[in-house]
Amino acid sequence: MMTLDILYFAWLRERVGEPREVVETNVETVADLVAELVAKDERYALAFADMSSLRVAIDQELTDFTASLKGAREVAFFPPMTGG
């Protein structure tokens, strides 16, 4: 089992209802983690309904949903960025 800090930003944070949580999990990839969250509660199902419009970062580096969580400590989910 590993302990992950999970962060949510922008409208994803609003749908999940909290900016940050700690989960214990033994899944292998980001996609597995999303599936586990979605199975847990309706809020996540709503938040992750359209994964094509979401981005993910592991330990503050952008990656994709097929990425392995091995060694990860912080996983962040968010919509496409709108800086500048």
Binding site: F9, A57, L62, P79, M81, G84
Partner: protein
């Protein structure tokens, strides 16, 4: 390379002049400044910018490093605000300095293109009757492909 992520306003003119003064041997300086625009229709009360502390600084430093590898720059600056802003307020600025104008222009455009869709900022527009997250534009993602050859 100077990267600042801050809530407080900055003074564009002062920053632009300080950046220019700090350059030694540069012949060309380009700046870009992004301002909060009002909305068509209902006036915008507040533009609020959320960011991902920690990742923001890392992402901006990476973008500035990539620019320094590709172009001959004697200096670069990125300032980006978060928090609440009003129409006309300065959101962010970049500045680049080089011997040559082509390098300074290209590097500034590169910084802007990557900062738009690769740095973790999210804008929200608040009017009297609505609050909505700004959606990313397909053309912002498309703009990145212009730089494919240097990735």
């Amino acid at each position: 390379m100077d990267i600042r992520v801050q809530e407080e306003p900055f003074h564009f003119g002062t920053e632009a002049q300080a950046f220019s003064d700090a350059q030694d041997g540069a012949g060309a300086i380009v700046t870009f400044t992004g301002l909060v625009r009002d909305l068509p229709g209902t006036p915008l009360d507040v533009m609020e910018i959320e960011h991902y502390p920690g990742m923001t600084e890392r992402a901006l430093a990476k973008i500035a490093q990539d620019a320094s590898k590709q172009w001959e720059l004697s200096g670069s600056l990125i300032i980006h605000r978060f928090g609440a802003m009003r129409p006309g307020d300065q959101i962010m600025m970049v500045a680049t300095a080089s011997k040559h104008r082509k390098d300074a222009f290209e590097a500034a455009e590169f910084l802007m293109d990557f900062l738009k869709s690769r740095a973790p900022f999210w804008k929200r527009e608040i009017t009297a009757d609505n609050t909505s997250w700004v959606e990313s534009k397909p053309e912002d993602e498309d703009a990145l492909s212009r730089w494919d050859h240097i990735q």
